[in-house]
Amino acid sequence: MPFREKSAWISLLATTGVWGTYFWIISQGLLERGSLAGLPANTVGLFIGGVVAIVIIQIILAIAVAVVSGRQADTPMDERERLIDLKAARAGFYALNGAAFCVSGLWLAGASPLVMANGILLAMVVGEVVHSGGKIVGYRRGA
């Protein structure tokens, strides 16, 4: 598996793992309250924990993959890899736009600013998942 496909897998798994857990906990809090008007008190702490966790996980896994991949990790992107990255970034951009548009519906449902902020975070996560997934698909298909 190419080094950059491994990197995309790391990003995809770390993003879905960390932020999936975060949003699952948040959603449980929302379900208990039965309202979008507020979030559990530990939301900010959970968010900071999520950011720290994803940074640490990505750094550790990126170093491990770079060590295993050897000189592949030092090779600059070639034209096919740039094309794959551009296509994936475009797909991620459209996913982010679509998700952000859906999040705007939360405002109509009476969501608090903190809930809206979490909705925007979710849109960014969706965009990143599509971006990483698009890279993996591109590498699997050849371009």
Binding site: R80, E81, Y139
Partner: protein, 71 residues
């Protein structure tokens, strides 16, 4: 899935004719990754004109001796 581009290539044969040059050696010679050479050989990726010229220069032949249009 998109149909493969209608471009055939002779890279595998040319590598064989040049002392069984490895995909990695060709990739290093033109500044690409081995995976990109694999994708080109399998017809999954059509290289840029610049890359096509670089590949043909490695084998000392013209571009049309490496790549051809099918159809």
């Amino acid at each position: 899935m998109a149909a493969p581009p209608p471009i055939r290539n002779q890279i595998r044969r040319l590598r064989f004719d040049h002392g069984e040059m490895t995909q990695q050696a060709l990739a290093d010679a033109i500044g690409m990754t081995r995976q990109t050479i694999v994708a080109i050989e399998q017809g999954k990726y059509s290289p840029s004109l610049e890359a096509a010229f670089r590949i043909s220069r490695v084998f000392g032949v013209g571009v049309e001796d490496v790549f051809g249009w099918e159809g």
